[in-house]
């Protein structure tokens, strides 16, 4: 899926002499080998997690961990899925994460556009306050936030989660998108002004398309952030039917012993959608590259 458009991007091969092409092949092989070795290191803990999830459920984690399952079984997956309302948690998480991603990226893109594109009085002060929001750890403001959520009637509510997750992503996503919007060439902007385009039109027709790789990246992170969030969900969600996946997984961790097989199976299931979203985002990353190459 990625290889077709990707080939458009590379250095045009027509200019290469045969000897340069041969060295290019050697270079690609070396690169691939380096990347493969790095991937092995990065994958190891994940492989252990998946392996253990296919072993008979144990209260104690195997030490040293196994790279290949012993007595493989899918019992943990069956138990994790059927033992609790896991399907419900999954749906809840998907609902919250998709809405959060859409809202956070749309709202942050507009905010980032304002900061990247315009000079206006008070800009730097407001931006500094926004950045300060990134530096104060969430755990410190969780009590005032909880009181606020209660007065807004957002306890035990999935839409309440969406509201706070979206708000929580804005500072970061704005920070990230601003850097990308600032790289849009001024000449392109001016050319559209000459053509009589208004600000909104420029935002939609010029800035958003050019920032597609950045928007895709922001969406991937926003989704992951909402999908993985635990502490806020724990604090505001009590009703079991409103639980998200991280709450469901944490429930397998007992006070004195943890059913690691279940935790690992549930964690493995939980990884799948985030990876799917990332793969979907890949297409846009590549599309962004080709769009840039046209210039």
């Amino acid at each position: 899926m990625s290889s077709a458009p990707a080939t458009l991007v590379g250095t045009p091969s027509a200019r290469r002499t045969p000897s340069r092409r041969r060295s290019a092949i050697g270079w690609t092989a070396a690169r691939t080998a380096a990347v493969a070795i790095g991937a092995l290191f990065l994958m190891a803990p994940f492989v252990i997690m998946v392996t253990t999830s296919f072993e008979p459920n144990t209260a104690l984690l195997p030490n040293p961990p196994h790279f290949l399952p012993q007595n493989p079984t899918i019992a943990n997956y069956v138990d994790a899925w059927t033992g609790s309302d896991f399907a419900q948690y999954f749906v809840n998480s998907a609902y919250v994460s998709v809405l959060t991603t859409l809202a956070a990226v749309a709202i942050s893109a507009m905010t980032a556009f304002a900061f990247a594109r315009f000079d206006f009085p008070g800009k730097n002060v407001v931006y500094a306050v926004l950045l300060a929001g990134l530096m104060i750890p969430g755990i410190v403001i969780i009590v005032p936030q909880f009181i606020l959520a209660k007065s807004l009637g957002m306890l035990d509510s999935l839409n309440g989660l969406v509201f706070f997750y979206t708000a929580g992503q804005i500072a970061f996503t704005t920070f990230m998108l601003r850097a990308f919007f600032e790289r849009v060439p001024t000449e392109l902007d001016e050319a559209m002004t000459v053509d009589g385009a208004g600000t909104w039109r420029k935002f939609v027709r010029l800035y958003l398309p050019l920032a597609r790789p950045a928007l895709a990246t922001a969406a991937v992170f926003a989704f992951l952030g909402a999908w993985d969030e635990y502490v806020w969900a724990l604090t505001v969600i009590s009703d079991a039917s409103k639980r998200t996946l991280p709450l469901g997984i944490a429930a397998f961790q007992g006070e004195h012993s943890t059913a690691w097989g279940l935790v690992f199976a549930a964690s493995t299931i939980a990884v799948i959608p985030v990876v799917a979203v990332y793969i979907a985002g890949q297409r846009h990353l590549i599309a962004g590259i080709t769009a840039g190459a046209v210039k």
Partner: protein
């Protein structure tokens, strides 16, 4: 039974205090609410119950499929919403809910947090509001009951209890030339020198009060005075220092693995026990289901806590059931508390690993699982950790100072002197 003579003074004090407030309970100040919450009152409506029962071990099933449905059948029209919170996060959720006025009606709270919640003002004093409180209190083991006391009132009742006993691997001991499991602290010290080569006579998973108090108490040491108002003279007494010194010496001689510093990543104690890496550990009843599942061929054996000059004294764990001041339906909450302590509910929980704190149910408990018996025996002398609202800080100071001693940065005496002087002002705040 010589051991019963060392019944902790704290528990005696608790019983005396209990009698005192039992008299005051139904009379003057709380008479109206007392009537409201009497067992005969009719109940209706809904309540919410927060707990940290684990999903893996069948506890949730017992609660949601047996206990709550039976309670709702007993009182048609009522509804109990139960909320499971992971135990490590329960305190955070409780505190945040306190600030937001969003507490549930009934909570299953770790025994060490009850005085703190009582001081905070979030709990209803059961000894005042339940006219039949005394009859429930009289059914309980004194140690677990004492964990509910703060300022001469009782703020909860023991819902379940546990303690720690010696669990050992006979094959591992035999293979290392230790024919008999160490029964006393002296035996342990003597056997330690025989074991080596990457094997350890004993392993402990941390250095908090929960981990080390059995050694301190059995050796005749104390953490505080009986009224929990002073640590100096108790926490740094020769007996306390001796007990810690023995463990520090063993750690520094590599006779105890690094787990005792907490979070070392060494083989977990129960894992190492089953694998023959560690000969003995001191742990709770929850160890057994885990061992059976992971090491079906391993046969763990038990002994009472290693005895010292004061006997074999272990530490009481478990949970209390408490009612919040914010509860809008205290009548139903009280009725639910009664039901949770009834034989029906206690037996259902006993079958899935929750030991009842009621001696009358001891025989039932022992019949559910053979490994309960040594714990029921140990509970006769086991003591609760000092009941103080400042417990989290007290334990933190103790743990930190003891770890400095384990690391050899200070002597045990220095560590405990320093801990005692830091803990005194906290206890003075009450």
């Amino acid at each position: 039974m010589k051991r019963s003579l060392v019944l902790p003074t704290i528990a005696l004090a608790a019983l005396t205090g209990l009698a005192a407030c039992g008299v005051g309970a139904g009379s003057s100040q709380s008479a109206p609410s007392g009537n409201e919450l009497s067992p005969s009152a009719s109940v209706s409506g809904e309540i919410t119950f927060w707990h940290a029962y684990s999903a893996g071990g069948g506890e949730i099933n017992a609660l949601e499929k047996t206990i709550i449905p039976n309670f709702e059948k007993l009182h048609p029209g009522v509804k109990v919403h139960d909320v499971q919170v992971p135990s490590s996060d329960m305190h955070q959720k409780l505190i945040t809910a306190t600030a937001g006025g969003a507490l549930p009606d009934v909570v299953r709270a770790d025994i060490v947090t009850v005085p703190e919640l009582a001081k905070l003002g979030v709990l209803a004093p059961l000894s005042d509001v339940m006219p039949d409180f005394q009859s429930w209190a009289a059914k309980m083991f004194p140690g677990p009951l004492a964990t509910n006391k703060y300022k001469d009132k009782y703020w909860g009742l023991p819902l379940d209890t546990n303690t720690r006993v010696v669990i050992y691997n006979q094959d591992a001991l035999t293979s290392q030339g230790v024919s008999q499991v160490p029964k006393s602290l002296d035996d342990l010290k003597a056997a330690a020198s025989k074991v080596g080569g990457g094997k350890f006579i004993f392993a402990e998973g941390g250095s908090g009060a929960w981990n080390l108090l059995p050694f301190i108490w059995s050796n005749g040491g104390e953490m505080t005075d009986p009224s929990v108002s002073k640590a100096t003279g108790y926490l740094n007494s020769p007996q306390t220092v001796d007990a810690i010194q023995m463990l520090v010496d063993m750690y520094r001689a590599k006779q105890i693995p690094g787990n005792i510093l907490g979070g070392s990543g060494d083989t977990p104690t129960s894992d190492g026990l089953a694998k023959g890496l560690y000969d003995t550990i001191v742990d709770g009843p929850w160890t057994f289901p885990g061992l059976t599942a992971s090491y079906p061929s391993f046969k763990p054996a038990t002994e009472p806590m290693f005895s010292g000059s004061a006997g074999s004294i272990s530490v009481v764990g478990g949970e209390d059931i408490v009612m919040t001041q914010q509860s809008k339906n205290k009548a139903l909450a009280a009725e639910f508390v009664r039901y949770m302590l009834s034989p029906d509910a206690q037996q259902a929980m006993g079958k899935v690993g929750q030991l009842s704190a009621e001696p009358a149910l001891a025989a039932d408990m022992a019949s559910y699982a053979p490994y309960y018996a040594p714990y029921l025996e140990q509970l006769k002398t086991a003591r609760p950790r000092p009941a103080t609202p400042q417990w989290a800080k007290v334990d933190d100071i103790f743990t930190k100072q003891v770890q400095l001693a384990f690391q050899g940065k200070v002597t045990v005496q220095q560590a405990l002197d320093s801990a005692a002087s830091q803990i005194d002002p906290l206890l003075a705040q009450g």
